[in-house]
Each structure stands twice: as C-alpha cells, then as structure tokens.
Amino acid sequence: MDWLYSEKVKDHFINPRNVLIDENSFDYDAKGVVGNIKCGDEMIFYIKVDKKKNIITDCRWKTYGCASAIASTSFLSERAKGMTLNDAYRISPKDIMTELGGLPEHKVHCSVLGDKALRAAINDYYERNNMADKIRKEEARTVCQCMNVTDHEIENAVLDGARTYLELQEKTKLGTVCGQCKEVAIRMMEQYKKEHFE
C-alpha cells in the first residue's frame, strides 16, 4: 500500500529520532520554542553544545504537530548533530524537504517548524552565554522565518531584478508559507530598490 508521503518521511514518522519523552532526562544547554497550539503546531528543540568549539553535540525535540513536522524534525535532528552553531543556523528547510523526498506545498509550513525551533534554540544559547551580539545580528538577518530567507537574499533578489512582491517571492520563496513577513519584506525591497536604483 502506498503511503501518503515518501518512504523516508514514513521511516522518520514511524521511528522518530531524538524525540525527548522526559524533559528531565536530557541535560540541555539551550532550547527554542516556536509555533502555537492554536495554529495546530508547536515545536521545542533542545541542544547540547560543546562550548569550546560551538558545536552541537546532541539534541532533542518535542512537538505537537503533524506527520510532516515529526518526520522533518527527526531528520533535522540527525543532521544538526556535530554541526557548528553557525552552520546549523543556516540549514535550509528546502534542502531538508528535498532530502526527505518532497512534501506537498501545504505541508511546508509544518515541516519548517523544526528549523525554526532549532534557530530559536541557537539564539537562546547565544543569549545564555553572553553572545548576544550574535543574536541580534542573526535575528535581523532572517526576514522570512518559514523559508529562512535573509535580508541579504532580498537584497540579491532586488539586484537580480525583483521589483514586485511576486517577483521577490519567485526568486526567494519568501512569504510562501505563513506570509507573516510580507509587509516587512516589501518595505525592505523598497529600501533596497531606493538604495541601489534610485
């Protein structure tokens, strides 16, 4: 019998890796919470960090979420281990989805939750360890939380010819999930247009 999504998604859904069942059983250095039960999904990501190398040595997660949230976060949790905080912050949800064999468009929202929670956890780590300068920089950079699109990418898209919000979306995939970043993104786009072309 065919399954709803890819075999890889199924495998991670049936046997999710690194799920935290008991919060007291994992000694974490930072955690990130995103989503909201009201919207039907919530995710917590916990990381343990090698303080000297800034490397994620271990991680756990928990979710009130659907199959694609479970599967993609399970996959992400395996990927994040051993990465530097910097690299882990830059994991692209698009790559995760591709490696999972694809998910339908309306499931993108759910599957990027893990990435968002991981980034929140990394920021939490920075905050707890007096590296607040890093957070502000990172936070200012990510405009579209869902698709992890930064201000640099918006700037590049404008330089690359994007003049309307639709064109910006086409180039960056920004705002294609929850759409909350639309206003900010348009403002930024206008600013870059002014900066570079007016």
Partner: protein
C-alpha cells in the same frame, strides 16, 4: 504494516452494498439515453422512473418532487442559488427572498455558497449552535422576518453526528413565509426522514453515504415552491437539472435506498451498540478526552472524540499504519491552518479541535473491528502524547 484493514470512516463515504453492486453490474448495459424515444431510451427511462418512485417513497415525497443530481454538494448549491436568482425567465425570486438563515456548522458546500451569495447582495445569517452542535429553533423564531427567503439547516452533522430539530426549525421558518431546506446527506438512510413529518420544502440526499455509488444524489423540491435550475440547457428532470441522466448511478442510488428501507432499523440498533462499546472502551483506556456531539440526538454510528495534547493528523496516520481508517478535525489534515469549523463552533478550544478523531461506523463493521480499534488506539495516543509539547500527562 498491519494486514488488517478496518474502515471506520463511513461518514466520508461508504463501500457499495453488495446488493447495490449486484444490480449495478447487471444494469451495466442499460446505456440508452433516457430522453430517446426508441426502445433503448425507453428502457433507461423505465429504470430511472422506477428509481425515482423508490427514492420518493422512502422520504414520503411524490415522484415528481424528486430531482436526481450529481452529488449532495450540487443539490445544496442548486437550492441556495434559487433564492438569489434574478433572471426574469425563471419562476424563482420569491418576494422578500433576500435573506437566508443557515448555521455555522453546515457542510462547506453550504457555507462557501452562502458566502458567494453574500457577495451577490444576499443577507446571510449564520446561526450559532450550542455545545452539542444544535441550532436553537428560538434563534430563528426571534430573528426571522418576512424578508427571509430560506432557512437551510443540516439534518445531521457529518463530523459530530448531532441531529437537529428540523421539524421545529421548519415551523419557525414557515412562520413568516420562508422556505425550509435541510441538507440530509448524513441522515437519509441512517435515521428516519420523512419530508411530510419534517414539513420541509427542500431536502438534499446523496447515494455514496449510504452504500450507493458516488456521483449521484437527489433533491426533494416540494410541489409549488420556487425553483431555478443551476444547470441549464436540457429538459431532463422536468427541465430542473440539465444533463443526460446518470442511469447507472440512479439505479444504484435507488437500490441503496431500497436496502436502507429494509436494513436501516436493525443497522442503527447494531451500530449504536458498537459505538457505545467503542465509546466506553475509549473512556476506560484513555484519559483527558472529550466526546463531541449530542449524547442522545446523534447519528447511531458517529463518534467524535478529542484527545488533549495529541495532534489529529499524527493520530490518523499512526492509526492508518495499523490499518484503521478515520477522519480528523485537525487543520493539518485539511490543508488550511484552521481546525474544523464545526468543533470551533461548539466551543472547543483550538487544541481539542486539532486533536479530534471521528470514528464513523458502518454496516460492514463488526464487534471485532471495535475491539481491534480499542487495542490499537491507546498506544497510538500514548505515543503522540509522549512526544507532544502540549500534553503534561494525567494526574
């Protein structure tokens, strides 16, 4: 994956009744166009008119008051659209028919159509329901005016199974000269439905919810009430629904109705017993749950339950891996970010709405099926709750 497969999603659709299947296979060669005058056409016509009499008889209508349509959704769309027709050639546009009353928990084919009618200038009142999903007839009595053209309230809700007091609502609708429609897609064939007892002017029914084929349904249109066809361009169905008749589907629908007239009573009794067993089993083995829908006035086979802290799509898919087929009111299963409008309307919080599972039992379900569900469900809920951010465990 488990080899056992249990289908408890009969409100979504049903398998064909073996008798329906048999008669449809036998009728496979009745290909003539029922509008043709020759023997091929006449044979098809004979089948269709026999089917019409069967369907009409079952709901207490006259044959000429039954119009075959392509689905329950088409039937509902047709009826709502009558009341905003502005075209001078049809007999609709009843005086003052500029206002429609419906409820918040109708099927989307009523809700979306109503929204569309609003855009066209019709006033639509979406009535609230109580915690069990019932529309209070008083709400209509108090708010209805002579501008009200139509009151459209479903007879039984597809998600939670609640059965409405259609007779009283119809009375209220008629008080000021409005017409009454009930979407009885989930009711006909499951509980007694008689258009005279209910005193409705319009009613919609569908074949595939009662072990008939997909793509066919019927509407009851009381003699003398306004009508306006939605699909035009043919004299079929007394000019009320153009398009060559779906003979095979209509034959299947009539057979499903005929079987319901024989088996409905005993099926209902058996399904209620199975549902009670399922309900009590869930109550016993799983904490922090909430049953949705009316405790008594409910379709015999429908059981909707919310599991605190557990997301519905995950539950559905883990159950699917065990071979159990159910539905959920979770947003994640619908493609939107909102959970079921029905569950929100009865006052459930978002978490409980996202965590809802609908079991809808049908004629093929046996006691062993319920036992199998009761064996597989608790570990699935335990598992989903185990990884949930929203479940803190039972005290």
């Amino acid at each position: 994956m488990s080899k056992r497969r249990i289908y408890v999603d009969n409100n979504a659709t049903t398998p064909l009744h073996p008798e329906v299947k048999k008669v449809m296979v036998e009728s496979m060669d009745v290909f003539g166009n029922a509008s043709s005058l020759h023997s091929f056409g006449r044979l098809a016509r004979k089948h269709i008119e026999k089917a019409r009499a069967t369907v009409a008889g079952f709901i207490g209508a006259k044959p000429e008051e039954v119009i075959f349509v392509g689905s329950g959704s088409e039937g509902n769309n047709t009826i709502l659209n009558i009341f905003t027709c502005k075209c001078p050639v049809c007999d609709a546009t009843p005086d003052g028919g500029k206002e429609i009353f419906t409820s918040r928990i109708e099927h989307p084919c009523i809700l979306r159509t109503s929204e569309c009618l609003m855009e066209r200038g019709t006033r639509v009142v979406f009535l609230d329901v109580d915690q069990y999903g019932k529309v209070a007839p008083e709400q209509i009595e108090e708010n209805i005016s002579d501008r009200t053209g139509l009151v459209s309230i479903m007879m039984a809700n597809n998600e939670i199974g609640t059965i409405m007091d259609i007779k009283r609502i119809a009375e209220a609708a008629h008080e000021k000269g409005g017409f009454m429609h009930t979407d009885a897609v989930q009711a006909v064939g499951k509980i007694p439905v008689n258009v005279n007892d209910l005193d409705v002017d319009f009613l919609t029914l569908s074949a595939h919810k009662i072990y008939g084929p997909k793509g066919v349904g019927a509407i009851y249109v009381k003699k003398g009430v306004p009508f306006c066809p939605m699909i035009r361009g043919g004299h079929q169905e007394q000019g009320r629904r153009a398009g060559t008749e779906n003979t095979l589907g209509i034959i299947g629908l009539a057979k499903a109705i005929e079987m319901a007239s024989i088996e409905m009573g005993s099926d209902a009794e058996r399904l209620l017993k199975l549902k009670t067993k399922l309900k009590e089993g869930i109550e016993k083995s799983i904490p922090d749950i909430h049953f949705n829908g009316h405790p008594v006035d409910c379709l015999p086979g429908t059981l909707d339950v919310s599991f605190a802290g557990a997301e519905g799509e995950s539950i559905l898919l883990y159950l699917d891996l065990e071979g159990i087929a159910v539905s959920t009111g979770s947003a994640c299963a619908s493609g939107s970010l909102d959970p079921s409008h029905v569950l929100l309307s009865i006052g459930l919080g978002a978490e409980m709405a996202h965590g809802s599972i609908r079991f809808s039992l049908g004629r093929e379900n046996k006691e062993e099926d319920v036992e199998y569900v009761l064996e597989k469900l608790p570990p699935v809920i335990g598992r989903v709750r185990g990884m949930s951010t929203a479940y803190r465990g039972s005290k």
